[in-house]
């Protein structure tokens, strides 16, 4: 018994002392959690985005009347001003006084193409007259459809203009605001109303940490110990492989527990994830994840002949399984071969099961599948490991 405890402690200690493992098992997950939350946690919030927008007013106000084009310009200028000390949504680029507008337009188009501007808004000549005469005035919007940012900016600009449009219609008595249809947005049933990316990401990163620890930690520790004849020194003592295995598993459990605690504290108190891990289903899926990835590591250790071979296999499996398991982003429909990876990937089921268990989503995977597929992998791993895993260097 004391041998098992000492082995568990050894595995935990050496994992934390070795910089490579400390980095991949603890530092990297923390880094990923923080950086992804910083990037995606603010989408749509004031101060969290900024677009470089070109604005050109070509209206010459021939024919007089109220300056409607000026209202549009003012609306954009208002958005372009910092509010509550926060950065504005738009940083406007307008032709300077006396600058040739056509020249500016050509340059703006060029800058949009070169990625310096996100979108360009052009108020055409005859804008006022068109509206006043009841025709439809058309504002031209230059966008780069290959850029996400440009498309997002275009969506916001369209919304701004439709607000101006409504305002004009109301003022000209063509639209009755009172009779407007009430509009509201509702999340999918089963999901929380206040949803943050951090709460979606935190369980994913915790599972990623478990996954990395299992995938790399198990073959790494065991195969290196075997190939460098560390294990041989154990086998000449009364220690049996069975006890070694139990001690190692306990140590790995301790490592995962530590990962969980660190990530939970940072996610919960640093990033405000607000996830309730005390739910029994969530705890059960964390445990299932730990066991599945542990046995997955043993599966790799059984297949590989040498430690380096084991690490190579783990490296090749790592990226597709991690990203095609829905850990960081929800997965949509993927083409056949990738969808196949998603479907056999145990990460998919555990991540989905954990998020359902946490009450974050309702999920499309049946609870039975999200338990049975990982259990199937565990069974397969045990079977292969029992037949093939050698405790002696070849």
């Amino acid at each position: 018994m004391k041998g098992i405890v000492a082995l568990a402690r050894t595995h935990l200690l050496t994992s934390l002392r070795e910089r490579v493992t400390l980095f991949w098992f603890i530092v990297f997950p923390v880094f990923l959690l923080v950086i992804l939350t910083l990037i995606f946690g603010n989408i749509g919030r004031q101060g969290g985005m900024n677009f470089q927008v070109g604005l050109i007013n070509l209206e010459d106000r021939a024919g007089g009347g109220p300056d409607l084009a000026g209202i549009v310009v003012e609306a954009f200028t208002a958005i372009g001003e910092p509010r509550d000390g926060k950065e504005p949504l738009f940083t406007l680029h307008r032709p300077g006084p006396g600058e040739d507008k056509q020249g500016f337009l050509t340059r703006a188009e060029e800058e949009l193409r070169r990625g310096k501007l996100t979108a360009v808004v052009i108020i055409p000549r005859g804008f006022n007259r068109a509206i006043l005469s009841g025709e439809r005035a058309e504002i031209t919007l230059y966008v780069d459809p290959t850029r996400d940012g440009s498309q997002l900016a275009a969506a916001i600009i369209r919304e701004v203009i439709s607000g101006i449009d409504r305002e004009i219609l109301v003022r000209t008595g063509r639209f009755d605001q009172e009779r407007a249809v009430p509009v509201r947005s509702e999340p999918l049933e089963g999901g929380p109303v206040s949803f943050s990316y951090a709460s979606f990401l935190l369980p994913g990163v915790i599972l990623m940490a478990f996954f990395t620890a299992g995938l790399f930690g198990v073959p790494g520790a065991i195969l290196y110990a075997r190939d460098r004849f560390q294990l041989r020194r154990y086998w000449v003592t009364p220690l049996t492989p069975a006890r070694y295995f139990i001690g190692f598993t306990l140590g790995q459990g301790g490592l995962c527990l530590l990962q969980f605690v660190v990530l939970f504290l940072i996610g919960e108190y640093g990033l405000g994830a607000g996830v309730d891990f005390s739910r029994p289903a969530a705890a059960a899926f964390l445990l299932l994840g730990f066991l599945t990835f542990l046995s997955f590591g043993f599966l790799i250790a059984s297949i590989a002949r040498t430690a380096n071979g084991g690490m190579a296999i783990a490296n090749i499996l790592n990226i597709p399984l991690m990203f095609l398991g829905g850990l960081f982003f929800p997965l949509g429909e993927l083409p056949g071969f990738l969808q196949a990876v998603v479907l056999v990937n145990p990460v998919t089921y555990i991540a989905a099961g954990l998020r359902v268990g946490l009450g974050l989503t309702k999920g499309t995977i049946s609870p039975i599948a999200s338990v049975l597929v990982p259990l199937g992998w565990i069974a397969l791993s045990i079977l292969v490991a029992a037949r093939r895993l050698s405790w002696e260097a070849a």
Binding site: M49, S185, L334
Partner: protein, 348 residues
């Protein structure tokens, strides 16, 4: 010198991990990430007309254009459809109110869907009151390539793989050689350390060329993307970027002595750059301090230049040659510092 080149090459080819990282990773990244984040076509709307004919709504949706509409019998079916990603978001209309239904986990897309939803409700309101919009928007795509989001990602990934290969060539490989006392063996020969560096750089150049080319090939053949590569610029930029990246790796190697730590730092640097250089995620949606970081990251500019080389985006000739020269300069200035590092063999 040739022998050294050969030895360097054989070492590289035998290192399976290095091989996998250099050739397999960028391709895997392009494919996997591309499909996960990609497929951003027109938004797909699931519609439920709850006991009303909804003729006006239907015609508004039809007029709007750019939105693919799928009808569902009831809200439960709609929600199932959203969950299964048959549609991106939903709309339920019962004659009294418009209710938009969304999947809160799609944090990256929901903002766009929300804007689309608002547009629909505005047009619907106008149509119901028989009003025509006074102002409308005409969108003009301004883009060099006839491509989509994905076309833009590929050169970014290639730039990233050049960067990480260069970083690791120095921070991983060289510090490892030092720790294993392999450098000492070179030092006892009359060989000048610069030659060793030149050999490493030479091999990496070839590797970067092949790797970048393979990635492009996969993108073209497997993903059916179109690029118009400027081979002259390609021939100049890829070596400059490789040497520049190795120069950055040299900085890491000079600051961090231990190979593991150097490797880890290189990893963090590479990841940071990948996330913040606008390769996958638009820089515009990041908070200002992250945008400030993005503006000083070399990868931001390397990706721009690579997009230019592949004809995805156009930057000015001044910028392109500026970036290329800066990268080359970075390498030429920083790499020789390493030869002093090699000589200063610490026997601790």
């Amino acid at each position: 010198m040739m022998a050294l080149l050969h030895a360097e090459f054989v070492t590289f080819a035998r290192d399976k991990a290095a091989l996998a990282f250099t050739f397999l990773f960028p391709i895997l990244f392009i494919i996997v990430f591309g499909f996960i984040m990609g497929g951003k076509g027109n938004p797909r709307l699931g519609l439920v007309l709850d006991g009303v004919p909804g003729t006006t709504l239907l015609s508004v949706l039809k007029e709007t254009g750019g939105i693919a509409v799928t009808r569902y019998p009831d809200r439960a079916a709609l929600e199932e459809g959203i969950r299964k990603r048959e549609v991106d978001f939903g709309l339920v209309y019962d004659g009294k109110a418009l209710v938009f239904v969304y999947d809160p986990t799609r944090v990256q897309d929901n903002y766009t869907f929300e804007q689309t939803a608002r547009g629909i409700s505005t047009r619907f309101d106008l149509a119901r009151q028989g009003a025509l919009p006074a102002v409308s928007v005409r969108e003009v795509p301004v883009v060099k390539a006839s491509g989509n989001w994905f076309v833009r990602v590929v050169p970014g990934v290639i730039a990233f793989s050049i960067l990480s290969a260069g970083l690791f060539a120095v921070s991983g490989h060289l510090t490892m050689m030092k720790e294993r006392r392999q450098l000492d063996r070179f030092l006892v020969t009359p060989m000048r350390p610069v030659y060793l560096l030149a050999a490493i750089a030479g091999v990496r150049l070839v590797v970067a060329y092949v790797s970048a080319f393979l990635s492009l090939l996969v993108a073209i053949l497997v993903l059916h993307l179109e690029f118009s590569v400027d081979w002259v610029r390609y021939a100049v930029f890829v070596p400059a970027a490789t040497i520049g990246s190795m120069g950055m790796g040299a900085v890491i190697a000079l600051f961090v002595r231990r190979p593991e730590s150097a490797g880890n730092l290189a990893n963090i640097v590479a990841m940071l750059m990948m996330f913040l250089s606008g390769i996958y995620f638009p820089v515009e949606v990041m908070p200002s301090y992250l945008r400030a970081v993005s503006a000083v990251l070399p990868l931001t500019y390397m990706a721009d230049a690579m997009r230019d080389v592949t004809g995805v985006m156009e930057i000015s000739a001044f910028e392109f040659w500026g970036i290329t020269a800066a990268l080359l300069g970075l390498g030429v200035v920083l790499l020789p510092l390493l030869s002093r590092y090699i000589v200063r063999a610490d026997r601790g």
